[in-house]
Symmetry: C2
Subunit: 206 residues, 2 copies
DNA sequence: GTCTATATTTGGATAGAC
DNA sequence: GTCTATCCAAATATAGAC
């Protein structure tokens, strides 16, 4: 059941539909007219509730990322408490919450694709918004990785983490496609391990 | 030296600049006005040479993909000629030509990012164009992978290949960023092996 | 082939009634 | 909070002179 019309407020209908359409057509590609038509609300409602398209986009992120990053930090703290934790443990703390959110509901499934878009977009304002609000999460993970990979200098570490984070996000975005949800759900445990093994190999060596 | 103005025809200037701007802002995000202004040609030139924005986009793909896919098929044929070739060999035939093109010149570097956009875009017309014109290449690779992975049924195989292709494309798009070109160039050999090892791990098992 | 000027459409945003 | 109507800017596309 997608967040269509019934028990949802105008504001939530807009957010749900915007998430879906941004995932499908990109931020520039999805117009406010498409969004309001699909949500069956009035065109002016977007500006009333959010002020601008830009702010609507930010709100789409905020709604999911607050929860996602809380879970990620909780998982990371649990891992860091174990004195002998591994690279795989830290990667698990990063990947699992995203994969779980992506299977919570139809919206979460769309959001991982929105997230993949954000990586692809080089829009200055969007990047600054994400960096300002959620940069500390990535920095905590980077620090945890750095402690486990002392042979890498800072530049090399950040470069690899960027690639790993991008590839993982991309892979999860693919899981976000409707047709494959059962396949991923069935083997979720194996899927997570695959991704992690995948990423750990890239982070170790040279 | 980017394909700015000097020894390039109007048509080629447009293609070069469009490639860069599509990589940076997406297909919907980069307007024809931005493109023609940056290429220092007249606004009407795009429609004269290409007919429409849609056709310009297709031409940006055609220019690079014809060459890239020829190299990929050549490499695959060379691999298939060896009776005892491995999964890694096939992956190499897929990855190496793209990585080499991405380091040929500034345009190739932008193009891998355009390619990553194409994966993210769910635009019907663009997907059909790519599938119609270059689908046979992917099918040949899929067949080669299938022979090496007989334990996977067709659905499972295609699903994994899609994820692997997406992740590799994403990783290479990151390499396409300007700041990191030397780093990738220096260790190109190691980089390729990393990516391949990465992908092979995902394709094997369960 | 290239330019200027313009037609046409689409999109973001706002004013003001209810 | 929601709607209608409208404004204004930006974008694609074309017509016609050079």
């Amino acid at each position: 059941m997608s967040p269509g019309q019934p028990g949802f407020s105008t504001r939530e209908r807009i957010l749900g539909v915007a998430e879906t359409l941004f995932a499908r057509h990109g931020f520039a590609g999805a117009s406010l007219r498409q969004v309001t038509a699909a949500a069956k609300v009035n065109l002016a409602a977007v500006n009333y509730h959010f002020g601008s398209k830009e702010s609507l986009i930010e709100e789409v992120f905020r709604r999911r990322l607050d929860e996602l990053n809380r879970h990620r930090l909780d998982a990371l703290a649990a891992v860091a408490a174990k004195p002998e934790h591994t690279l795989e443990d830290v990667l698990d703390a990063f990947v699992r919450p995203a994969l779980e959110q992506s299977m919570d509901d139809a919206g979460g499934s769309a959001f991982v694709r929105v997230l993949a878009r954000a990586y692809a977009e080089h829009d200055e304002r969007l990047r600054r918004f994400l960096s300002d609000n959620y940069g500390h999460v990535l920095r905590e993970f980077a620090a945890a990785f750095g402690r486990l990979l002392p042979h890498l200098d800072k530049d090399e570490l950040y470069w690899r983490l960027d690639i790993v984070a991008g590839s993982l996000t991309y892979a999860m975005a693919d899981f976000g496609m409707i047709k494959r949800r059962e396949a991923v759900g069935e083997h979720r445990e194996r899927t997570v391990r695959h991704l992690i093994h995948f990423a750990a190999a890239g982070l170790r060596a040279p």
